[in-house]
């Protein structure tokens, strides 16, 4: 009896030590560095915009378009970047509560966000936001060309996303819009027939299709109002000063045409091109 207790206790202590050691390492790195820290919230489950390179550890593991942008902004501000990963909806809470300085997670402009946050000027992540589509089962791919074709169907979208807004605006009245906390759950719902389609950004659609041959593009594209086309950075209502600086940096990036290169790099890192090649050799089907 005592032996069991001793072993259990020892195990608990060991595990806590490992955890604390991991933690302490992170904290020391912060303490020893005098440069001010720029905290950025993002949701790294969304290739190619932001995702995790599982071969790496700590801050290094976060990659993707928005991460490159965040690094660039921190560098220009002379600050040290610290990425705080969290779910998409938590990112917005973190900005509002002031836990982080910036929210850079593929946010689109919406009237509600403009009310509650300071919103930066636009930045352009390739065609990720300009083209918004609906993905469907592969055997129905290309069969839909206009919004009316989705009448009576169930279409999934991520809650609090641009896609939800587009679905509500553009799709016919008798289309049911089913909301999901996480776009990936919506994809499973599509694969298991719980919904007939899922509204996603085009770049995201390609990443999903690269590994899921049973999913295809419907052939329909949303008519996206220019104000939704690009991504924005969210800031706390109080951070007027930071907003000015961020906008200057964004204007500079735009002028020097830095975005398209970053987007291509991010796509390559996400393996979107290579994955498509594999799918050709596997079943010979063109995507």
């Amino acid at each position: 009896m005592k032996k069991i207790m001793v072993i259990a206790l020892a195990l608990i202590m060991m595990l806590s030590c490992i955890a604390c050691a991991n933690n302490a390492a992170g904290n020391n790195a912060n303490a020893s560095d005098e440069t001010p820290v720029l905290k950025v919230a993002l949701s790294p489950d969304f290739a190619p915009m932001e995702f995790v390179d599982t071969a790496k550890e700590g801050q290094e593991q976060f990659v993707g378009f928005d991460v490159t942008l965040a690094k660039h902004i921190a560098e220009q501000l002379g600050m040290k970047l610290e990425i705080e990963p969290m779910s998409f909806d938590a990112c917005q809470v973190a900005v509002q509560m002031g836990n982080v300085d910036l929210g850079i997670s593929g946010f689109s402009w919406t009237a509600e966000r403009a009310e509650n946050y300071l919103i930066s000027d636009y930045y352009i992540a390739g065609d990720n936001e300009t083209k918004q589509t609906i993905i469907v089962a592969a055997d129905k791919a290309g069969q839909y060309t206009k919004a009316e074709d989705f009448a009576g169907m169930k279409i999934g979208a991520q809650a609090a996303s641009l896609q939800e807004l587009l679905c509500n605006e553009a799709l016919p009245e008798d289309t049911t819009v089913e909301l999901f906390k996480d776009i990936n759950v919506a994809v499973v719902a599509l694969q298991t027939g719980k919904v007939d389609g899922v509204a996603v950004a085009d770049g995201n659609a390609e990443a999903i299709m690269a590994n899921n041959q049973d999913i295809g593009k419907s052939g329909f594209f949303f008519d996206v109002d220019p104000k939704y086309e690009n991504n924005v950075i969210l800031l706390n209502k109080k951070d007027e000063e930071l907003l000015k600086k961020v906008n200057e940096i964004l204007a500079d990036c735009m002028a020097n045409d830095m975005y398209s290169g970053w987007y291509e790099d991010a796509k390559k890192l996400a393996g979107i091109d290579t994955a498509q090649e594999i799918s050709y050799t596997d079943d010979g089907k063109a995507q």
Partner: protein, 226 residues
């Protein structure tokens, strides 16, 4: 859905990312649960004794604490832990990991305090009375007579709490602290194969809780023989 295709991709994910799930994810999940249950047990014990104590105010405060924690969703507590703890203690520079661990510890302390209190109160009152009549003081009676019997009730229930907490730690993935559910989010965020990733995570959770569950029942049998 094509089953052969499904498992081919399942194998692909396993071979490519097994270390993300098995080493990083599993160890973080185990460490987080161990911290939450260990410190939860310490705080929970104090709470349990406070609740059985004489001070009315203390009893009221502890009852409120336990009821609030047990009456709100754990996910909400993790949110509060992450967003509010750093605001209350700005000078400490609390890491994400620590704030999530604190939230889980607070959660587990409320449940553990009830486990311990009911474990102690389940020991027949006659035991205390007999010990007292033999000349032991109140605290001697508690330590030498009641507690050794209460441990038999408490330990298996504490084991079950550990199993529950293992599943609760999945909520920590909201802030990507690196537990098993975070492994699912990060691998899936790149590969977009949610079902396969969830299946892997599910298998690991099940094996883990199953083994621990067997351990708890073995412990229960041992204790009933003593």
């Amino acid at each position: 859905m094509d089953l052969v295709d499904f498992f081919e991709k399942f194998i692909k994910i396993v071979t490519r990312y097994w270390d993300v799930f098995l080493i990083k994810g599993l160890s973080t999940t185990l460490a987080l649960s161990a911290i939450a249950v260990f410190f939860g047990a310490i705080i929970g014990t104090l709470l349990a004794f406070g609740k059985m104590g004489k001070s009315r105010i203390l009893r009221g405060v502890i009852t409120a604490y336990v009821e609030i924690i047990r009456g709100t969703p754990s996910l909400l507590q993790v949110y509060v832990g992450y967003f509010v703890v750093p605001l209350l203690l700005p000078s400490l520079n609390v890491s994400t990991y620590a704030s999530v661990a604190i939230a889980l510890t607070i959660n587990s302390s409320a449940y553990v305090s009830e486990v311990i209190r009911s474990g102690i109160q389940a020991v027949d009152k006659g035991q205390t009375e007999a010990a007292r009549s033999l000349g032991l003081t109140q605290s001697q009676a508690m330590i030498k007579v009641v507690l050794p019997q209460a441990v038999k009730n408490i330990l298996p229930a504490l084991g079950n709490e550990f199993i529950t907490i293992i599943k609760e730690t999945s909520l920590a993935s909201t802030f990507f602290v690196g537990d098993l559910m975070t492994s699912y989010l990060t691998v899936n965020g790149k590969e977009f194969l949610p079902l396969q990733c969830l299946l892997i995570v599910g298998i690991i959770y099940f094996i883990l809780t199953f083994i621990l569950g067997r351990g708890v029942s073995a412990l229960e049998r041992r204790l009933s023989h003593d």
